[in-house]
Symmetry: C2
Subunit: 348 residues, 2 copies
DNA sequence: CTGAAAGCGCTTACAG
DNA sequence: CTGAAAGCGCTTACAG
């Protein structure tokens, strides 16, 4: 029913090869024959069959963005990763398709390594990620948005955690804060996401540099858990004047929770939402100060790295990008207390 | 390099057809030959080429969920649609792929109607949706999550707006509210999304039934716009005791905006987040009462309708599902005022 | 139960 | 500049 190249060739009175040359612009064709072919395509409403093309050329020009949506949906910054990646693919005349998978890559063999996609961009990368071996075994080109523990031989784009954390901490230090708690989120499973490990290491490094006693207070990733964390904060670190929170939902919950305990943000405690989307930013009262994830940029870079790889470029060092400090009203000058009080907490 | 069926056939000493029968379980094969073939597949690490299979069988077992992510990302309930659809596809041994497109379907011809996907599930449907004609022209099976103005001949699953609105309005009426404003969101473009039209019609119907003077106050879909709407509300409908808000971000902003004007939620005004995700629900203070979108269920139903269509089933009436009332703390008994005051607003 | 062979709709050396 | 033909790796009547 649908017209094939053969139909077009017949109607234009040329060979099927010539039609292919016209369609793909792969060889010189005289303007006259080209016109005849194009007319015939128009007449027949020809659309080339991508499957046949893929089989013959071993290329689909489709790349898959794989993320663990089956486990935790497409929340927060993920949307921006997708959009950035889709635009980049489209600009290079590729198609991006999002493939919802689980954290283990359980769906991966079904779609990948069977000729349907030219390559894969993998998100939410863990320090030890079984999907990396899986993709290697499936023999499909792939790049990571994020990093495993050992990145040698891999194509990666990621956040520059050190510089991003520096933005957050120095913003607070400049405001006179010296008791800055770091509240990373912990996800459902036990997997160690690369970004959690690296963000915490960056915090410890910055804390050391600024002589801040490091306090790390993990919190499950949800608004209610953020609320609950407000209670724990008082006992874990009563002298804290600022909190760097690694999850937008936790940040929103923490602010609400602190407020309902009579603590004023930012007068009593400053809060920074660290490497998150801007999702809850203005839904909070006051609007949050955020170091936002350069998500759409990383989506774009991930796709571009993959496309370079498809053209045979060798792996490079991971490409890193810094988050953007978006000032809000949840950070302010540290409250002045007597230094004695700050330096010597009452013994337990 | 990768083993083909021919390689497997050679190694097992059978014909390529027999390998195909084993791989697809399409014909009886004696246990002995089956075992030989399976051993050969194992030895060679055989994975069948889906592209070749698709070309020969005209089926890819891939369906695409198309949404306008290029225009407004994957926010709110969209994530749940994706997850519900992906699970349903997976359960039927299909693969779901998410295809980020724009509102006009600009990317559609590139992927669809060229043999790569067996069918399409379309989201964010407008009353007049050019993509419907496009998909018809591309001659690919598709179902809608949502409805155009005229649904005859189409496969649709959608929200039951009337019953969902009834849930919201009667929840408020039972609490003694009679001045209930409806605040739908207006999106960037001018397209009339089916759900906006139908939700508003449902509101007007319920308002009439309960003798509520209908007040419709559209608001752009963002938290800051929700805040701004708090100001407008006072002038547009000073006597309102409840607001039904058709967007989670607007609901969050409205609550914050009202509060910063000294209005207490829910004592002074009740707020219902209508047919939204639960996204901002507990980030708000107080947590919102929500009529939540049955998103993952609709995702599932959309895929299932498509699969039935692929098996040749004729179109049915649209399949409708009701939202779920999730009680929160943003609704309460209407404040008692003198009936006179309520019944006769001061003349302008 | 198994196999030989046509065919899916393209791409791409190779010849001319 | 154009064409005849092999081949991509499968599926599926058809025969036996």
């Amino acid at each position: 029913m649908a017209a094939t190249m053969q139909d077009v060739a017949d109607r234009a009175g040329v060979s099927i090869a010539t039609v292919s040359f016209v369609v793909n612009n792969t060889k010189r064709v005289t303007p006259e024959t080209r016109a005849r072919v194009e007319q015939a395509m128009q007449d027949l409403g020809f659309r080339r069959n991508l499957v046949a093309r893929a089989l013959a050329s071993r290329r689909t020009r489709i790349i898959a963005l794989v993320l663990a949506a089956l486990d935790h949906g497409i929340r927060g910054a993920s949307s921006d990763f997708v959009v950035g990646a889709a635009w980049a693919a489209s600009a290079a005349d590729y198609h991006l398709v999002v493939y919802p998978d689980d954290k283990k890559g359980g769906q991966l063999p079904a779609l990948v390594g069977q000729g349907l996609v030219d390559g894969v961009v993998l998100m939410e990368v863990q320090m030890e990620d079984s999907r990396v071996e899986l993709l290697t075994r499936l023999d499909v080109p792939f790049t990571l948005i994020g990093r495993t523990g050992d990145t040698s031989g891999l194509y990666c784009v990621d956040i520059d955690f050190d510089t991003s954390m520096q933005l957050a901490i120095e913003h607070l230090v400049d405001l006179g804060h010296h008791r800055i708690v770091y509240m990373p989120s912990i996800e459902g499973g036990a997997e160690r996401l690369g970004r959690h490990i690296r963000a915490e290491a960056a915090y410890r490094r910055m804390a050391k540099q600024h002589r801040i006693p490091p306090v790390v207070m993990p919190c499950p990733s949800s608004v209610p858990d953020g609320r609950a964390a407000a209670v724990r904060l008082a006992s874990v670190s009563p002298e804290a004047t600022a909190v760097v929170v690694g999850d937008e939902a936790v940040a929103a919950g923490l602010v609400a929770g602190l407020q309902s305990r009579g603590i004023t943000i930012p007068d009593d405690i400053s809060v920074v939402s660290f490497l998150t989307s801007l999702e809850y930013r203005s839904a909070c009262n006051p609007p949050l100060t955020v170091v936002s994830t350069p998500a759409s940029e990383l989506g774009r870079l991930g796709v571009q790295a993959l496309l370079r790889q498809l053209e045979g470029a060798p792996p490079t060092e991971p490409v890193l990008r810094v988050g953007v400090l978006v000032p809000g009203e949840s950070t302010r000058q540290a409250p002045t207390r007597t230094p004695a009080r700050r330096r010597r907490p009452t013994p337990i």
